[in-house]
Symmetry: C2
Amino acid sequence: MRFTSEHRLDDGVLEREFTLGEIPGTLWTPESAAPVPLILTAHNNGLPKGDSRLVARARLSAAAGYAVASIDARGCGDRPRSPDEERARADFRRAMQAGAPVDEVFESFIGPLVENAVPDWQTTLDALVELPEIGGPVGYSGWTALGIRLAVAEPRISVAGFFAGGYVPHAQREEARQVTVPLLLLLQWDDEGNPRQRALDLFDAFGSTEKTLHANLGGHLGTPWFEREDGDRFFGRHLK
Amino acid sequence: MRFTSEHRLDDGVLEREFTLGEIPGTLWTPESAAPVPLILTAHNNGLPKGDSRLVARARLSAAAGYAVASIDARGCGDRPRSPDEERARADFRRAMQAGAPVDEVFESFIGPLVENAVPDWQTTLDALVELPEIGGPVGYSGWTALGIRLAVAEPRISVAGFFAGGYVPHAQREEARQVTVPLLLLLQWDDEGNPRQRALDLFDAFGSTEKTLHANLGGHLGTPWFEREDGDRFFGRHLK
């Protein structure tokens, strides 16, 4: 793991870019003498780790006392893509914009993206937990489909917060019942891009004995500010 | 309003019984030099204001800085009942215990209970807001059906937290769209006595532009402890 840049924010949070082989990542850590728990965070559908909403949330969670890390896993964010991957991505965007049925194209685009992302996340986790500034349990926050796959594949993930959940590949809908960590599913009630009933069915399917659903009126980008605080408190109950 | 007894709890909360004409009530107030906001609270289906779960929640909310009041409205709690009211209540209990369809008997029992309770709650609110220890906006917490009726009938209610919501009389399901105050609906995902889909439909129907659903795994009595804190924070955003 090689840090390539660092930037100290006004609230003391240290924001560092790193590379790990071909994997580019960002790590946010608070000013803290003691090691802090780690939250891995990813944006839905493999959007870049530099997305402003992800960065804003990560910085606030770091200020609240967590180490937060995000990467562009293989095929995600700004990573180079194969012609097949580019084609699947273009098909998906076209179908979404046309309001056409997206299930099939979604499956062929997001399915492999999730599968291929997991090894990169595990490699990253291996490296992160070796850092002296990181210690304690590990949480996951964000992209639902990747989070399900990671929570099933990776016993170090001990708590998970998921966003949306209307579109999740078939394989992850199936393995949702194998997710048993405490979880919070955050849902926008009128999210145009995430069918509500599918998200509710997914919440029902999770195998966790401790699971909470938060739903708020409004579209995909309308999550109210207090849900970020609720998220921190949720992670606080399990990571601190 | 006549206070008939008072009791100072260990955390400084003052618990007072009162009567207002035929209405018996309890008022919990924190130790505070300044007037505090008021939360009216009622237990689902007109259960007594002395119910231990209601009392426990009221005491904690008072300790968190609210005046909290509950009454046994007409036909509710330990108030005397007419033979017709006793019959409706017995029919309801029998149907619930037998696992029989309860819609019709529920309607004939709870429908009039809600309608008849509202004048008593309004009379109580008139008296409470005159007290020097109470000031600021008014919230409602608890029994969904009564809360809908009160929120529609009573402009002084400026925020509402509802519990369950699977069984709500037809009239209140209809007027849910007239409820426009910020609201939090708290739902137990496997509540045997509250059909989940009806509660979700009710959440969808509310006319409020700011509404939040919290759902947790488990049965009617399984609400996790952190939801009480979440409720206090919800009221805090709107009452303080």
